[in-house]
């Protein structure tokens, strides 16, 4: 059963998986070639961005066909809805390992090829593990969002947008606490769930 779900996921996602994998392989090389001890490393932001995009792509393709058929096929299969969702989630997670593996290969190759100045070390394994962690967090979030109906997705997106706009407006007009800012701080700092996307993401570091 899982094999078939995995095959279905591969069939739905292979066209987006290919460029993601190439990008994940190339990004550490780009990072290593643009390394500077003193300057801000632009590529540091590319890693979490790629993790978010990879999570988004895998989650979207996991549900794409079911959404097109209004979930009728999934509901007509002789398994519980939660089982089907778990199988889908697991299949997407396995597919996600392809760009993660590519990033690990790319960073390992870059680490071997690079000749960093004294005091600078390459971190291919920890960078790959961090990328894996960030991709899975992003995938889980997007997966939960895409598993809902389109109407619910729009309501959620609208609600989030309205919250940010309103709290920013209220804060700037009446000088009260900006709740959206507080929420972002909570989400992006330890032990917030999205903390993994922040901080320094460099293959070569001191």
């Amino acid at each position: 059963m899982f094999k078939q779900i995995l095959y279905a996921h591969w069939k739905a996602s292979h066209l987006v998986l290919l460029p993601l994998t190439l990008a994940a392989f190339a990004l550490p090389m780009y990072s290593a070639s643009h390394f500077s001890v003193t300057d801000f490393d632009v590529s540091s932001g590319f890693f979490p961005a790629l993790a978010i995009v990879a999570g988004f792509a895998m989650a979207a393709t996991a549900w794409q066909w079911d959404q097109q058929g209004k979930q009728i096929y999934a509901m007509s299969l002789p398994i519980h809805g939660w089982e089907y969702a778990l199988l889908r989630m697991a299949a997407g997670s396995v597919a996600l390992m392809v760009p993660v593996a590519a990033l690990w290969l790319g960073s390992s190759a870059s680490a071997i090829a690079a000749s960093p100045p004294a005091g600078v070390v390459a971190y291919p394994h920890s960078l790959s593990l961090r990328f894996l962690n960030a991709s899975v967090v992003a995938y889980a979030g997007w997966f939960a969002l895409f598993s809902g109906r389109q109407r619910h997705q729009l309501i959620f997106a609208g609600g989030v947008l309205a919250f940010f706009v309103l709290s920013t407006l209220l804060a700037s007009t009446f000088g009260i606490v900006d709740l959206s800012q507080k929420l972002l701080e909570f989400l992006l700092s330890s032990p917030g769930p999205f903390e993994v996307f922040t901080g320094s993401w460099r293959l070569l570091d001191v």
Partner: protein, 302 residues
């Protein structure tokens, strides 16, 4: 006779203007049950309720001996379902769709599926999105039958198919039923199609089941009577008077549409001082239309 599908006082609201109301449905085991009704009468909603896709507001549903929606996955192991619109993944090829589907059914008969592919002249390498309506209809029935189900639930399976594809789909279904004695629940608004194959009929209108009876009784029991000196009816009649139309200026006498007619009921007209001038057989479609008209008039009166 036990029932493969049983609805007891099922209520479900789909919108402010439409709901399934106190639905009691009995589909006998081994029957070919035709589920008739005009578009929007609640046929597809009833099918979604019986396949566990919708949760009733109240009432109970048992299918293949399992409670629905509580035991839906186990019930679906024994149920082949063909939905109103194609539901399989469009980017799959036929062989991929079959392999995917087979993985969920331990009872899947791959030899039989291969035979049916040949019989239906379907190319296993063809992409589902590229199939014609007829080919899609054949593929869906093939998938449902290859599960070797004890119950087949077909939601307008031949709607929009050409006559050849329609015949192929119905023949495959009938061959399977004659071989396995499976129960079939088939919804359609194509009355003549069901007339030929079904032995039970249920008629839905506006979310209510207005009739449920053996096809033979439905076909033979609905008549158009020409009645001279038609009386005001007081008390009970031996038949169900569905409709009564006054003299139309062409044919003498009133026209009565009745259900449950039998020959010996002619005597009734003598007892009330009326003359029965003619008894006309109605085909299933006419009977179906008269039944719906009478149900609607009854609703309007209430």
């Amino acid at each position: 006779m036990s029932n493969e599908i049983e609805f007891r006082d099922v209520n479900y609201r789909t919108s402010k203007t439409f709901s399934i109301k106190s639905l009691d449905l009995n589909v006998p085991k081994g029957s070919l049950y035709g589920f008739l009704g005009p578009n929007g009468s609640g046929k597809s909603t009833t099918i979604k309720l019986l396949t566990g896709m919708l949760r009733p507001k109240s009432g109970s549903i048992r299918v293949c001996g399992f409670d629905v929606p509580g035991d839906t996955p186990r019930m679906l192991q024994f149920t082949g379902y063909v939905p109103e619109r194609p539901h399989v993944f469009p980017s799959f090829r036929i062989d991929e769709a079959l392999a995917f589907h087979a993985a969920f059914y331990p009872s899947w008969d791959s030899d039989w599926a291969d035979d049916m592919l040949d019989k239906f002249r379907l190319d296993p390498k063809q992409k589902i999105a590229a199939l014609s309506k007829g080919e899609t209809g054949k593929l869906l029935i093939l998938m449902a039958l290859s599960q070797r189900p004890q119950l087949l639930v077909l939601d307008e399976p031949t709607d929009g198919l050409d006559p050849v594809a329609r015949r192929d789909v119905l023949t495959a279904m009938l061959d399977y039923v004659s071989e396995t004695q499976a129960t079939v629940f088939i919804s359609s608004h194509l009355v003549h199609e069901l007339e030929r194959i079904c032995d039970w009929v249920g008629v839905m209108d506006d979310g209510c089941l207005v009739a449920e009876l053996p096809m033979q009784a439905f076909k033979n029991g609905i008549k158009r009577l020409r009645v001279g000196d038609a009386p005001n009816i007081e008390g009970e009649t031996p038949f169900v008077l569905l409709n009564r139309k006054p003299h139309d200026g062409v044919v003498p006498g009133e026209t009565w549409i009745v259900r449950g007619w039998q020959k010996d009921m002619r005597n009734y007209f003598d007892t009330v001082g009326a003359t029965l001038k003619d008894v006309i057989d109605l085909d299933l479609e006419e009977g179906f239309v008269e039944l719906l008209n009478s149900a609607r008039e009854e609703t309007d009166r209430v």
